[in-house]
């Protein structure tokens, strides 16, 4: 066991998640170190860190993907541990291994577990072995003939996905044999370029499903606890925009099925640390299929923290540093309702990127309102990284109370300079689609086409 106080953590990330990790590390008496490009020098995560290491490497994303460079920087900062955040190398087993081999603590699950779950096909195999339903093949479609045969068995429409993909990149939908052949070669090419492996697989495309995930936390003694679920069905381009917990209208039967499947999956691979198991739920049939597992802290983790009162980043640190975490502290009945909305630098109609200099930034505040932000007034939002500016999360005794609080907080959130999706988020929260709680992954498409036809008739 290593004491947390006076240790130094190097955060191999930037923006809001680096800032989020700094908050907890500081409360635990730890020192924090980060890496930043010249244009990011004034960002809150840089000014809040104890040690900020500048880099001039281009493209600006490169230093966050450079395993040996990151390990070297961590050592030069005198770091005892490395927290990877999400994205970048957070689910890269080689990076985790390199950190450990350098004698540092990796704040995450073991490299073996990351490697096992990082390949989506392998993860599906593990799930299928545990009798968790999966949605299609557990083998790659090695040729286009193979893909056609698998799609024929599953029935169209199907999704073609990169085995090592993620974040909505490396997938395409096909409704016919012709479009499948095109989708197959396109995804194969994207997979090779982005994920260094051309392996793709076929799954059945579910049109009106809900995306529900279970937050798990694994202890070193092999026990895995579920910390409730999150509904993440509000998506654009397969990327999440808003998340909530509990998932509205989820029956107790489906909820306990999801929790059991997630815990079984975690325990079968001796998962230790924070992780998320994602499912697609067919609300009408009351059935679900396993999608994938994320072996890191999730963007939307504040939703779970608000309903459980836990600090997931603190738990990550405690387990990684070898401290005892009592399972009784994790067996918490979630209370109330939490919703998170992601503020992106993008327009509210087509969701196109909108970099620019922030001239005014005013965050909402108040009881039950939490803001995790990566930016503030005067900062430059560059085109080099993803468009997430901040996460606004609210908590209320009921879903209605949380919705009302979210509507007010969104009205109070002011960002001037780059265009943001705040107008879209306000429209989303005020819409009957969202407020009824009876939505699925088609909600953004439906809202946008209504807005468009409303404009045409106006």
């Amino acid at each position: 066991m290593k004491p947390l106080a006076h240790s130094t953590v190097f955060i191999a990330n930037r923006g809001e998640i680096a800032n989020r990790v700094i908050q907890t590390a500081r409360r635990l008496g730890m020192r924090t170190a980060v890496l930043h490009g010249a244009m990011d020098a004034d960002l809150p995560y840089v000014t809040n860190a104890d040690i900020a290491v500048p880099t001039t490497v281009v493209p600006p994303v490169a230093p966050y993907l450079d395993i040996s460079g990151l390990v070297k920087t961590a050592i030069e900062c005198g770091a005892d541990a490395v927290h990877p955040g999400y994205g970048f190398l957070s689910e890269n087993a080689e990076f985790a291994q390199a950190v450990i081999e350098a004698g540092l603590i990796w704040v995450g699950p073991s490299p073996d577990v990351i490697a096992a779950m990082g390949n989506k096909l392998h993860a599906r195999e593990v799930a299928a072995r545990l009798s968790v339903p999966v949605n299609g093949a557990t083998e790659p479609a090695s040729t286009s003939e193979n893909a056609l045969r698998q799609a024929d068995e599953l029935g169209y429409p199907v999704l073609v996905k990169a085995a090592n993909g993620g974040g909505g990149i490396g997938m395409a939908m096909a409704r016919s044999e012709d479009s499948l052949i095109r989708a197959y070669s396109r995804v194969q090419e994207t997979a090779q370029r982005n994920f260094a492996s051309p392996d793709v697989f076929i799954e059945r495309y579910l049109d009106s499903a809900r995306h529900v995930e279970v937050q798990i936390f694994g202890l070193p003694n092999g026990r895995v606890v579920a910390l409730g679920e999150r509904d993440c069905s509000v998506q654009r381009r397969n990327q999440k925009i808003a998340e909530e917990s509990p998932a509205p209208f989820l029956t107790d039967e489906v909820r306990s099925g999801l929790v059991q499947a997630a815990v079984n999956l975690g325990e079968s691979i001796s998962y230790a640390n924070a992780g998320t198991v994602e499912f697609l739920v067919d609300m009408r049939a009351g059935t679900f299929v396993f999608l994938e597992m994320n072996t890191r802290i999730q963007v939307e983790h504040p939703v779970t923290e608000l309903v459980t009162g836990l600090d997931l980043v603190e738990l990550q640190f405690r387990v990684s540093f070898g401290h005892d975490v009592d399972i009784a502290d994790l067996n918490i009945e979630p209370s109330g309702h939490a919703i998170e909305a992601r503020i992106y630098a993008e327009d509210s109609e087509r969701f196109m990127p909108r970099p620019g200099k922030i001239t005014r930034w005013t965050e909402p505040a108040g009881s039950g309102v939490r803001v995790d932000s990566g930016f503030t007034s005067g900062n430059e939002v560059t085109p080099f990284f993803d468009p997430l500016l901040a996460k606004l999360s609210v908590h209320g005794a009921t879903r209605e109370a949380a919705l009302e609080r979210l509507g007010e907080a969104l009205a109070d959130f002011v960002v001037e300079g780059p265009e943001t999706n705040l107008p879209f988020l306000r429209r989303l929260v005020a819409s009957p689609h969202f407020s009824s709680g009876r939505y699925d992954t088609g909600i953004v498409r439906d809202l946008q086409s209504e807005a468009l036809s409303g404009k045409e008739t106006a």
Partner: protein, 72 residues
């Protein structure tokens, strides 16, 4: 009428797909911008590409001139 295409947002030029003189179809990508981890194909109404004012890897600002196309 000659079509001048400008950048919709600040971005880097990820790929230039054609050279000046090339005839392109409407909605055929001429170059691909990358901004905030998103690939944004730049297209025209179709015609002959007369000028490509940027090169691969270059950072462009919102409103900056990218391509000129003469309708055929």
């Amino acid at each position: 009428m000659t079509q001048m295409i400008n950048a919709e947002m600040s971005a880097s030029v990820w790929r230039v797909l054609v050279t000046p003189g090339t005839e392109v179809e409407a909605d055929e990508p001429i170059l691909i911008l990358e901004s905030m981890k998103m690939e944004i194909p730049v297209m025209s109404d179709g015609g002959r590409v007369v000028e490509i004012a940027v090169s691969q890897g270059e950072i462009v600002q919102s409103g900056q001139h990218l391509v000129t196309v003469d309708p055929s």
